[in-house]
């Protein structure tokens, strides 16, 4: 059967999709924070990200600065699956957040010039991971 087509999450999901502690899948875990940026380098304040891996799940709506955060345990796989929704995205995007120093066949298959867009970097006590929808350093998205 033909899958039902996607449509944008729109701008008005913030009253409906967030839930209590949605960004925290492991309270004693590692904090990942970053920003979603558009092709003009401007923050995307109406995006929703979900991370999932090995039974962990987190959801976070971006704020006015396009910022999001998750608190997670490092998964054995070394990366999280990321699903990104936003106003202006007619269908969602899939990407990955790799922990620093992690490597696997998928990461190794990516153009070396773009590979860094999938890898979080240590920044003080947190990990930093930005999503660039367009432009220089556009994040690698998967299908």
């Amino acid at each position: 059967m033909v899958p039902t087509p996607s449509q944008t999450v729109g701008p008005f999901f913030g009253f409906a999709l967030p839930f209590d502690d949605d960004a925290i899948s492991a309270a004693d875990g590692i904090r990942i924070e970053g920003q979603v940026l558009d092709g003009a380098g401007q923050p995307v304040p109406d995006a929703l990200l979900e991370v999932s891996q090995e039974g962990q799940f987190g959801r976070c709506q971006t704020d006015e600065e396009g910022a999001f955060h998750f608190t997670v345990r490092k998964p054995a796989a070394g990366f999280f699956e990321v699903t990104l929704f936003a106003r202006g995205l007619l269908r969602h995007l899939n990407t990955r957040i790799y922990f620093p120093g992690e490597e696997d066949a998928v990461l190794a298959s990516i153009d070396p010039k773009r590979r860094h867009t999938l890898v979080a970097r240590g920044d003080g006590g947190v990990l930093r991971f930005d999503v660039r929808l367009q432009g220089i350093d556009e994040t690698v998205f998967f299908e």
Partner: protein, 232 residues
């Protein structure tokens, strides 16, 4: 195979669709990187069990002291996988404007009135048949500034989780006969008219509750197969 794949692609909106202006700075310009065959079908779907589903969450007309204004409706259907098998016990989230075309969301500045008896958000889990059912009011159309005199057709937003990552779906359900449908860039972004029709519910007398509410039926098909069913 290619024909079928092309067919399916024409049922999905592109990322860049200039008539929907917000896509211009947000659509990726690189091609998406294709992961190994069937990867999305093997990657387990997100474990959504932390998202609370409370009794009564599927009735959007009973979340406040009084009943919301507007035309009470029932929306029901089944969630299926690509093989036509029911997707059981999966989370369905909905959100929508009130009958006047206004969202509770603070970002919405449309001048239409809020309804103190309507929030417009609901959740449920599909049953053993993959069936879901919501009671709500028919949402109003609203203006959205995408172009001159732009109005969104009445719609209900749906978010679904499937058994694999491939099945994750956020979409919108429309109402049959809505005169705004042919001029909506968001719906028209789907190239194939048959794809657009998949997002329009049908009026259904069997779902209609006599003396109480009109019923609409809308079945949803998630990408992927139920090889690893989610029984959370």
């Amino acid at each position: 195979m290619t024909e079928q794949k092309n067919d399916q692609q024409s049922f999905e909106p592109p990322y860049l669709y200039p008539e929907y202006r917000a896509t211009e700075l947000r659509a990726p310009r690189h091609h998406l990187v294709t992961l190994p065959d069937e990867w999305f079908h093997r990657a387990p779907g997100p474990a959504f069990g932390r998202i609370p589903v409370r009794p009564g969450d599927a009735d959007l007309t009973r979340q406040h002291r009084g009943e919301p204004l507007g035309e009470r409706i029932v929306i029901g259907g089944r969630v299926l996988d690509s093989d036509g098998r029911p997707v059981r016990n999966t989370l369905v989230e909905v959100w929508q404007a009130n009958a006047a075309g206004r969202y509770v969301d603070p970002v919405d500045d449309h001048s239409a009135p809020l309804d103190p008896n309507f929030t417009g958000a609901g959740r449920c889990l599909t049953d053993g048949d993959g069936a879901y059912r919501f009671v709500t009011v028919r949402p109003g159309a609203y203006p959205w500034r995408n172009h001159a005199n732009a109005w969104r057709p009445a719609h209900v937003h749906f978010s679904l989780f499937g058994p694999s990552l491939a099945g994750r779906l956020v979409t919108q359900m429309y109402f049959p006969g809505d005169p705004l449908i042919p001029m909506d860039p968001i719906l028209n972004s789907i190239p194939d008219p048959r794809g657009r029709e998949l997002l329009v519910a049908r009026f259904d007398l069997d779902t209609t509750v006599p003396e109480w509410a009109l019923g609409y039926r809308w079945d949803i098909v998630l990408r992927g197969r139920a090889a690893t069913p989610v029984e959370s």
